[in-house]
């Protein structure tokens, strides 16, 4: 009967943040950027294996499939930590979105995938962009004719899909296809964004045989989106936390006019305004995750609010933290831009703020019929 993290959750937070601090220093992220270039996936498979050993890959996978069987709030803690360390992993798609959908559709194949995810062996990418934003005539469709037909079309900005072993593809709001990533007729193109720490791709389908197609999977798809939005909000908030910490640390260290710049009221207030946005957003995020786990009626619009709101404060914090750093913050060398760009890219991945707010209003019955 309290509002906050449990002892177990605080321990989880400490464990993951500690692991990332030890293992994924920013130099490793830089290396990863260098290694990946534009032709391969920046996700750090070595780190992902270690995280799987810590139970992170299967954090929301049921215990029957070898997962940790924890809730979304636990996943949020991990996602925040990954954002905080700008770690390139397939956590969002593989450990949060895919398991949510797979558990909801159920069955042998889904259970196999869940077990693979929990062990860290299977990376699953997710293609959902066209559910909320169709551009470039994108969309994947079942070739007309028979059930379980071949897939045609394309999906843009599919998450963690470039280096994935398996793919979940939403054909529409109620139809979900399971696809092997090496299926003939499937082509993957890395779509490079400003953010070198997240992997997005285009998937082209030219008569691809899916492993399975679930119709009537509306609830599974909706839950997958909710979980994804909340976890992505957590990622951005984690990145924000780090940017505030870095700004405060820099302000305590950097001297100009014979004083540390953090003793100037303008700099102080910039820092104060940032933390004043971060702290209530954390409370909102916790509640959104709690709602996903326990108050399902509120979760659809609460997840929209969490992501939209945190995306908005994220843009502001990314800019203000950089300004606190002055010219140094604008150099590649200082690394601060890795956070800036992670926040910038995440802003639209599962729906931009305007779109999410419109959806939140609609879901609450606040849009009168025209």
């Amino acid at each position: 009967m309290d509002f906050g993290l449990s002892e177990d959750q605080l321990l989880l937070e400490q464990t993951v943040r500690g692991f990332l601090a030890d293992q994924v220093a920013i130099e490793r992220v830089r290396d990863q950027r260098q290694k990946a270039g534009s032709k391969s996936c920046p996700n750090d498979r070595a780190i992902w294996s270690q995280l799987a050993e810590l139970g992170i890959a299967g954090i929301v996978v049921p215990e029957e499939q070898g997962g940790s069987g924890l809730g979304l709030l636990d996943a949020v803690i991990v996602s925040q930590a990954l954002g905080h360390a700008v770690t390139p992993t397939p956590f969002l798609a593989t450990a949060v979105m895919a398991p949510t959908a797979l558990e909801a559709v159920g069955g042998k194949l889904a259970e196999d995938w869940l077990a693979g995810i929990a062990s860290g062996e299977l990376v699953v990418g997710v293609a959902v962009t066209e559910l909320f934003s169709v551009r470039e005539d994108a969309g994947v469709r079942l070739r007309p004719g028979r059930q379980d037909g071949k897939l045609d079309g394309k999906a843009i900005m599919a998450l963690d899909a470039f280096g994935a072993d398996r793919l979940l593809v939403a054909l529409d709001a109620t139809t979900l296809a399971l696809v092997d990533a090496s299926a003939p007729g499937l082509e993957k193109t890395r779509l490079l964004t400003v953010d070198a720490t997240r992997c997005t791709a285009e998937l082209s389908f030219d008569g691809v045989d899916p492993l399975a197609v679930f119709e009537g999977a509306g609830a599974a798809i909706a839950r997958m989106l909710e979980a994804g939005r909340i976890a992505l909000a957590a990622d951005t908030l984690g990145a924000c936390e780090s940017m505030v910490e870095q700004a405060v640390a820099y302000a305590k260290d950097r001297k100009q006019f014979d004083r540390v710049i953090g003793s100037f009221q303008a700099v102080k207030h910039m820092c104060a305004e940032m933390i004043a946005e971060v702290e209530p957003a954390r409370s909102l995020l916790w509640y959104a995750a709690h709602a996903f786990d326990g108050v399902p009626d509120e979760s659809p619009w609460m997840s929209c609010h969490a992501l939209a709101h945190i995306a908005e404060i994220g843009r502001e914090i990314a800019s203000v933290s950089t300004q606190v750093h002055g010219g140094i913050g604008w150099t590649d060398e200082q690394n601060l831009h890795f956070w800036f760009k992670r926040i910038a890219n995440a802003r639209h991945l599962l729906g931009g703020p305007e779109l999410l707010r419109a959806r939140a209003a609609d879901l609450q019955g606040l849009v009168p019929a025209a």
């Binding site: 509002f3 906050g4 305590k252 003793s263 104060a272």
Partner: protein, 397 residues
């Protein structure tokens, strides 16, 4: 997160509902009319059932229960639903009582806490002075020693409710030779002491929607030294304990205001179309909902810290800053959707909700300024919350 309402809580909620069903009319009417005997009767009844002064020890006239987040939430929800006040929003219970519990002598606690919680003794706060606003510690109202008494001379401002209070908790300078922060004492002063003059203070919103503010003048006002709370010269530290508490627990009921705003937007039409049908206004409404929900849940988080006696750290320091601005921004949207009628005031024709939103807007602006301006709040957040250094002292010119 443990927000499940298990069976025990269901029973508690049932009990609250039953109480309200039996006792609603008397309480609601009595408090609304502000008549002293009704107020005292209602607050006493609430204390008896544990809905007010719930966690205050029995020996000081409270109910003596353990703090519990969900019970608090349930009580608030049910009383709100019934439209009945759960206690009394006033300076005595919210500021003086916590101070006495921490710093008061046994005698002061026994004498003042119970009648204050029961609404028998009403308090006002004597902190700000015309020359000491943001720099409160520079206050000049002097208490000169005279035997076992002090003689108080000076002037206070923003003393809301001074004209209707029995007592005042006041900060005065008792040690003129000590450093600025070390010369102040916290004193309990009867308002009927000779030499006190209360003058009403009109604010920008005129007579509408304000608490009644006052200036209070003191000429040779005699008060026994025994009325000092804590030690002499410790008044600054003592007052700050409560201010800190106030900052983190300021409950602006952002969600309630937001709901009222959403109702307004469904009802108010522009060229025959409800305001909420405008995508631009609706987008603003949604932005505000996210902020209001953030502050609601943040309030739950702070309440948890307070009930557990844990420090909320920087998360507590930002509450006032954010709630006041949010409150101002919500009234701004309300005023905008009412358009050219949004500025109507003072019971004029077509005025909406009796000018509520205009009053709310100006009052919110006052809250942004009062009790430490937004700038002072940001200093506190940066220095105490984030550990940034204080501004260096200026060199003597």
């Amino acid at each position: 997160m443990d927000l499940e309402f298990d069976a025990r809580y269901d029973a508690f909620r049932e009990q609250v509902r039953e109480f309200l069903a039996h006792n609603k009319p008397g309480g609601a009417i009595g408090m609304a009319e502000g008549r002293a005997e009704h107020r005292i009767q209602w607050l006493s009844l609430l204390i008896e059932h544990g809905y007010w002064a719930r966690t205050i020890p029995k020996e000081y006239g409270g109910y003596g229960a353990e703090p519990d987040l969900l019970e608090t939430v349930i009580m608030d929800e049910e009383f709100n639903k019934a439209g009945v006040p759960r206690g009394m929003m006033a300076q005595g219970p919210s500021m003086l009582v916590p101070t006495l519990l921490t710093h008061g002598s046994e005698e002061q606690r026994e004498r003042w806490i119970a009648p204050t919680m029961r609404g028998e003794v009403m308090w006002c706060q004597g902190y700000s002075e015309p020359g000491s606003g943001s720099d409160l510690a520079s206050l000049q109202t002097a208490a000169r020693e005279d035997g076992d008494d002090f003689l108080i001379n000076g002037q206070k401002i923003w003393t809301s409710g001074a004209d209707q209070s029995d007592m005042c908790f006041i900060l005065v300078r008792t040690e003129p030779d000590a450093k600025k922060h070390e010369g102040i004492s916290y004193i309990l002063l009867p308002m009927d002491t000779p030499g006190i003059e209360v003058q009403p203070l009109r604010t920008m919103s005129g007579d509408i929607g304000d608490n009644s503010f006052n200036q209070v003048l003191f000429s040779d006002v005699r008060v026994p030294k025994a009325n000092v709370v804590g030690a002499r010269g410790e008044g600054w530290k003592i007052a700050n304990t409560t201010l800190k508490h106030e900052r983190s627990s300021l409950n602006a009921n952002a969600e309630g205001t937001w709901m009222r705003l959403a109702r307004l937007m469904k009802k108010e039409t522009i060229n025959g179309v409800p305001a909420i049908a405008s995508p631009v206004y609706r987008d603003r409404l949604m932005r505000l909902q996210a902020r209001a929900l953030s502050m609601k849940h943040h309030g739950m988080r702070m309440l948890t810290c307070n009930l557990k006696g844990e420090s909320s750290g920087v998360a507590g320091l930002i509450v006032k800053l954010q709630n006041c601005q949010l409150s101002f921004d919500m009234s701004a949207l309300a005023i905008d959707v009412m358009g050219e009628l949004g500025a109507l005031y003072d019971h004029t024709k077509y005025e909406r909700e009796r000018g509520y939103w205009q009053a709310h807007s100006m009052f919110s602006l006052g809250l942004i300024i009062g009790g430490g301006t937004a700038q002072i709040q940001k200093n506190i957040i940066a220095e105490r919350g984030l550990g940034l250094p204080r501004e260096p002292k200026p060199a003597k010119a």
